[in-house]
C-alpha cells in the first residue's frame, strides 16, 4: 500500500549542481552519533598508520600539528540526507601521513576512539582527496563533531569521515566497518546514491 500524505514533501532541494539526489541543504550542522561522545585529551591523542605487514607509524598531537597544514573548503553529504555546503577545515592531508609508508594495500579501515570503524579504498584517501582535520570554521573541532580530530573524505557519504579518528589500518581486501557491516554501501558515492549495499 503506497498511501501518499497530501502536502508532505520532506526536506528537499537546493542547487542540483551541488546537492546530490535525495539530499537537502542543511544550514545547521547536525550531530550524529553511535555512542557516548569520547573525550580525548590531546596529551593522550595519537594517530597511527598500520600497514598490512604490521608496521606502525605514529604521530603525537604536537608532531601532527607540526606537519604541513592544509585548508580544505568542501561540501559534505550525510547519508541521512543533509548536505552542508562551503565548509572550512584545517588539517593534514592523508598524502602527508602516508608519504613514508611502504604498502601495497588497496584498502584502509579508519579506526576511532570509541570503537567506530569505516572502510575505504586507499585510492580515495590519497591525491588530495582526504584529510585528518582538527579545526572547523576557524575553531578547534568540537568533541560532538569528532574532535580532537576526524577524517574528512568529502567526496563520499559523511559516515566515511570517521569522527575521533585515531588511525588507519591498510588492508589488502575491503573489510566492512560499523555501518558497512549493517547494510550500508562499501563505497558510498553520494552522486550515485550508493546508500545501501546493493545500490
Amino acid at each position: 500500500m503506497n498511501l501518499i500524505t497530501r502536502g508532505f514533501h520532506g526536506r528537499r532541494g537546493g542547487d542540483p549542481a551541488r546537492i546530490p539526489p535525495g539530499q537537502y541543504e542543511a544550514h545547521d550542522f547536525p550531530v550524529l552519533s553511535v555512542g557516548p561522545t569520547p573525550r580525548v585529551d590531546t596529551d593522550d591523542w595519537a594517530f597511527t598508520v598500520t600497514t598490512e605487514t604490521g608496521t606502525a607509524h605514529s604521530w603525537t598531537w604536537d608532531e601532527f600539528l607540526g606537519l604541513a597544514q592544509e585548508r580544505p573548503h568542501v561540501d559534505i553529504h550525510c547519508v541521512t540526507r543533509w548536505s552542508k555546503l562551503d565548509t572550512d577545515w584545517v588539517g593534514v592531508s592523508v598524502d602527508t601521513l602516508l608519504a613514508d609508508v611502504e604498502s601495497t594495500a588497496d584498502y584502509a579501515v579508519a579506526h576511532s576512539y570509541g570503537g567506530y570503524t569505516t572502510n575505504l579504498p586507499l585510492e580515495d584517501l590519497t591525491d588530495g582527496q582526504a584529510w585528518i582535520v582538527h579545526t572547523f570554521d576557524g575553531e578547534p573541532l568540537a568533541a560532538e563533531h569528532g574532535g580532537p580530530a576526524r577524517l574528512l573524505v568529502p567526496h563520499l557519504y559523511f559516515w566515511k569521515s570517521a569522527k575521533w579518528v585515531k588511525g588507519l589500518t591498510l588492508t589488502p581486501g575491503d573489510e566492512p566497518g560499523f555501518w558497512e557491516q549493517a547494510g550500508y554501501h562499501d563505497y558510498g558515492d553520494p552522486w550515485r546514491e550508493q546508500r545501501y549495499r546493493g545500490d
Binding site: P30, V31, E144, W179, Q181, Y184, G198
Partner: protein, 91 residues
C-alpha cells in the same frame, strides 16, 4: 539539532516488530559484559544516525544495530547478553 540525541529502548518497539512477533522492549536483559540487569526498554539508543544503535546502560557495550534498507532489515544482536522474553500477556 546540533547536539546528539540519545533515546531509550522504547523506541525500538516498532522497528523490532517487523522482525519479532513478541515485544522485545519489555524483555529482561542480563549483560554478559558488566552484569547489568535491566529491561530492553532501558537500553541507550542512538537514533539520529544511519540506523538504530542500542547500548547497555551499564557499560555502553554495543547491544544492537538495526538498519532498514530497501532490501530488508539488517539486524545485529551483538552477542553481549541474554534476553528473557515474557510469554504471558502482561510484563
Amino acid at each position: 539539532m546540533t547536539r546528539p540525541t540519545r533515546l531509550d529502548g522504547n523506541v525500538l518497539a516498532g522497528p523490532l516488530s517487523e522482525v519479532f512477533s513478541v515485544d522485545l522492549t519489555a524483555a529482561a536483559r542480563l549483560c554478559s559484559v558488566c552484569g547489568d540487569e535491566g529491561v530492553c526498554a532501558q537500553l541507550l539508543v542512538y537514533a539520529d544516525g544511519p540506523g538504530l544503535v542500542a547500548r547497555c546502560p551499564g557499560c555502553a557495550v554495543l547491544v544492537l544495530r538495526l538498519v532498514r534498507t530497501p532490501h530488508g532489515v539488517v539486524l545485529d544482536l551483538g552477542g553481549t547478553g541474554c534476553v528473557t522474553i515474557p510469554l504471558g500477556e502482561e510484563p
